[in-house]
């Protein structure tokens, strides 16, 4: 194959592939949390939701909302949204104080990630 032929094939292919790129990241990492990381809330939330930047599997996920004594305040098991991007759990009525959200998910590429963040509920 001549160099000219190679260039004729390779250059448009590279341009096409790079321009088709979507701005997404590999593995599943939180894109948005609700309540937000570090938020101070005037009223307790009914549920905690984390939106990820890549779809997650329904198996092996966990989402805990721990109070200052380490007690899990989740009022049910974590649910994955139909599109696979969101993990949420209902929580019992939270009293004023600091809470730690601990999560663990498995991305569809089979690798798992985990992490935690805090938020605060104030006296109304």
């Amino acid at each position: 194959m001549s160099a000219r032929k190679l260039l004729t094939v390779a250059v448009p292919l590279v341009i096409a592939l790079v321009s088709a790129t979507r701005m997404t990241w590999a593995h599943s990492f939180p894109e948005q949390e609700n309540p937000a990381a570090g938020a101070t809330l005037a009223a307790p939330p009914a549920q905690v939701t984390i939106k990820y930047d890549a779809p997650i599997e329904k198996l092996f996920d966990s989402l805990q909302v721990l109070d200052s004594t380490g007690q899990d305040k989740a009022a049910g098991s974590p649910q994955v949204s139909a599109d696979g991007y969101q993990l949420s759990v209902p929580v019992a009525k939270l009293t004023p104080g600091d809470y730690t959200v601990k999560w663990r998910v498995v991305c569809v590429d089979t690798h798992h990630t985990e992490g935690s963040y805090t938020f605060t509920v104030n006296n109304p």
């Binding site: 590279v14 590999a26 569809v108 590429d109």
Partner: protein, 350 residues
């Protein structure tokens, strides 16, 4: 905006298990394809492809056995990684993973395909039919591998590109391997050897072009669209080594293509070509090993918390399943005009 990368280490056990399987699939795919091409193009030397396929049969049986034996171990190891448990504790979870996860669905096809690959190498078939069956089965296995790779996080385009990349790598590695085996066994037949070298050269040129184009895309995605990560992430460093070794292989290939193949009428050139192809093949084994490592290294990414509000600096801790590295992201909203500007700062601890 000040950001630094959260770095995570490769998963060595998974990479070491994947290496022989990927290598075996690539070699079978490319060598069987080479036999078919040799059969179709060598009209003046009918059945030369079938003769080469017969010479490769012993190798194919060994390679297919590796795929069939190691694939189930890969699956169990993968389930253990997903669940964060030991290999033994993962065994009761296999059925659940097979039926309820995307990865499991690919394994539902992959495990029988691995067995079928081994069966085809033992069936009493015409060599051309066997070659075709091996090409199809290996292509299927490579596609299933792409469907559970990092590419799945990036969407269908990335999966297709990764599949094409794997096919091109297999075509290149396998054709070199087949030529090396064939030339060693049939070096008395100069005409067939010259014909095979020309096919090898053409196949290598196409494969390398596709590898470079698709490799740029995959690297661009894997690096999180930032060349910074090429230097400052595990993924980037493994990728750099892979590209460097690939460049060396490419130099040997270019020497073969432009200096040795035009002089194939001389026996000394054929001998030198055989040695060069042997060296090239060995280096490709290394490149495929690095590819296996890369596919088990979390891609680099820039990350920052996107949800900072209030007076208290929010903290998000992220960690990988190895538990050896963790990053803490601190982000703070600064813009009073509701324009969201965030400062992300990751600290890496060993």
């Amino acid at each position: 905006m000040n950001m630094s990368a959260m770095d995570m280490t490769p998963e060595w056990p998974a990479a070491l298990l994947a290496w022989p399987v990927i290598l075996a699939q690539a070699l079978i795919f490319g060598s069987a394809l080479f036999c078919l091409l040799l059969n179709w193009s060598a009209a003046r030397h009918p059945r030369s492809g079938e003769a080469l396929a017969a010479s490769l049969l012993g190798w194919w049986r060994i390679l297919a056995l590796i795929v069939a034996l190691v694939s189930p171990i890969m699956f169990v190891n993968e389930v253990a990684g997903m669940a964060g448990v030991s290999i033994r504790a993962a065994l009761p979870l296999l059925g659940e993973v097979l039926s309820q996860t995307q990865s499991g669905h690919t394994w539902e096809w992959r495990l029988p395909a691995a067995v079928a690959l081994m069966v085809v190498t033992w069936l009493p078939l015409r060599e051309a039919a066997r070659s075709l069956a091996l090409v199809i089965l290996c292509a299927g296995l490579l596609l299933l591998g792409s469907l559970k790779s990092h590419a799945i996080d990036f969407g269908a385009t990335a999966v297709v590109v990764r599949f094409v990349h794997a096919l091109a790598a297999g075509a290149w590695a396998g054709s070199l391997f087949a030529y090396w085996v064939g030339a060693r066994l049939h070096n008395d037949d100069n005409r067939v050897s010259v014909e095979a070298a020309k096919i090898l050269s053409r196949q290598a040129a196409w494969s390398v072009s596709i590898l470079i184009a698709s490799g740029i895309y995959i690297a661009y995605e894997g690096l999180g669209h930032s060349l910074y990560h090429l230097l400052y992430s595990s993924y980037g460093r493994v990728l750099s080594i892979k590209v460097e070794v690939f460049a060396l292989v490419l130099m040997i290939g270019a020497y073969n293509r432009f200096y040795l193949i035009p002089a194939l009428d001389q026996p000394s050139a054929r001998r030198t070509l055989l040695r060069a192809v042997g060296a090239e093949s060995l280096m490709i084994v290394g490149v495929i090993g690095l590819a296996a490592l890369l596919s088990n290294t979390p891609p680099a990414r820039m990350s920052m918390s996107m949800s900072a509000t209030g007076v208290k600096a929010p903290v998000t801790k992220l960690s990988k399943n190895s538990g050896t590295q963790a990053g803490a992201a601190i982000a703070q909203r600064h813009d009073p005009n509701a324009l969201h500007k965030f400062i992300g700062l990751f600290t890496i601890r060993d």
